[in-house]
């Protein structure tokens, strides 16, 4: 029998160490997102008792089981719906959704646009690996044109969503895009979004060397990371509609940062008004 591996790391307190090592493949960007996320918490000195992480189903969905905070690994596509409920029930909580491109934008696409439209006070981090990793590398709404996947063996003919543009036009108050190579910038954006109120969205373009990378002959993870490094162009404030993601260019940066009243603030104000003065706590 293999002995249980022991794990000692300066950031152990943010991790459910008994669940490690994680299930993700060699070089999978999901691990980098986990790493940056717990570093952001550490650098912020976040109150772990008031933080909730919600994920959907998919490889990245497993993240909810690795962070040592209250977390929900929900059903496929419903992470935002459940996160919305958590936030409205207890507005003091900081609610973070970390999920996949398929989870958030295929089956969960409607929840995404309407939560952004309502400005639900959530941090949403989408790990975009251009495919459905967990189920074997099928095409999804972010798969680039001409890509080979298990369900597009002759090349994808469907135009992908520009997630940053979709988030911004649906009403997100903060929109950023980074890649798994941009560890410092990503950590900074996670911190910025955790400090803000409103629907904040971070897209992380992330290598899935095992499936998307393999089918598209992109080499190992390290080759995919070198590709991300090579083609990324930082353009803060860029119009998200023009922030392209293609094999020759990925525009990254902080694209949107505006302030608007949040859904929970408005709901609690409304409750207060209707109840006529009896105080209702809310607006976290």
């Amino acid at each position: 029998m293999v002995e249980k591996l022991t794990f000692t790391h300066p950031l152990s307190k943010y991790l459910r160490v008994d669940r490690l090592p994680h299930i993700w493949c060699e070089g999978c960007g999901n691990g980098i997102v986990l790493n940056c996320f717990i570093r952001a918490l550490d650098e912020l000195g976040a109150n772990l008792d008031e933080l909730v992480v919600v994920s959907g189903i998919g490889c990245i969905g497993r993240i909810a089981g690795y962070v040592n905070v209250d977390s929900f690994h929900t059903t496929h596509g419903r992470a935002i719906a459940i996160a919305t409920g958590i936030k409205l029930a207890n507005p003091r909580l900081k609610v973070v959704v970390i999920s996949g491109d398929g989870d958030l934008f295929a089956i969960g696409g409607n929840h995404f646009i309407h939560a952004a439209r309502r400005n639900v006070n959530l941090t949403v981090i989408c790990v975009n690996n251009f495919n459905y990793g967990m189920t074997g590398g099928q095409l999804g709404p972010t798969t680039p044109l001409d890509s080979i996947t298990t369900t597009s063996p002759y090349g994808n003919v469907e135009s992908p969503f520009n997630l940053a543009h979709l988030a911004a036009s649906s009403g997100a108050v903060y929109v950023a895009r980074w890649t798994a190579f941009h560890i410092h910038e990503l950590t900074k954006s996670i911190k910025a979004s955790l400090k803000r109120r409103g629907f904040t969205f971070i897209e992380v373009i992330s290598p899935c060397p095992e499936l998307y990378g393999r089918y598209n002959k992109m080499g190992r993870g390290v080759d995919m990371m070198n590709w991300l490094k090579r083609v990324s162009e930082v353009r803060h404030g860029c119009d998200p509609a023009k922030a392209e993601v293609s094999s020759s260019k990925i525009v990254v940066g902080e694209f949107v940062s505006v302030d608007k009243p949040t859904y929970d603030q408005l709901i609690y104000q409304l409750m207060e008004r209707v109840k006529g003065g009896s105080s209702v706590e809310g607006g976290g």
């Binding site: 300066p10 986990l34 790493n35 410092h184 390290v222």
Partner: protein, 74 residues
């Protein structure tokens, strides 16, 4: 310029957690790391310092490692 010799951090490699992606080795700004010769239980040779003095404790490897297998002890 005189090369600094002491840093307030020591590189620690949790060998059994390494999956061998090579990100730390590839992206270290001073090329301080290489693969070791002894495989871990996965059959992967984790990274090690080429020699003790080269690491500038920049923290890149500990942040880019998807498996949290390398870290600086400050």
């Amino acid at each position: 310029m005189k090369k600094p010799t002491t840093f307030k951090a020591k590189l620690k490699i949790v060998e059994e957690f390494c999956k061998g992606c090579d990100y730390c080795i590839e992206f270290c700004p001073v090329d301080a790391l290489k693969r070791s010769e002894r495989p871990n239980l996965r059959g992967v040779c984790p990274p090690k310092l080429k020699d003790e003095g080269t690491c500038i404790a920049c923290g890149l490897c500990e942040r880019i490692c998807p498996d949290l297998a390398i870290c600086l002890e400050r």
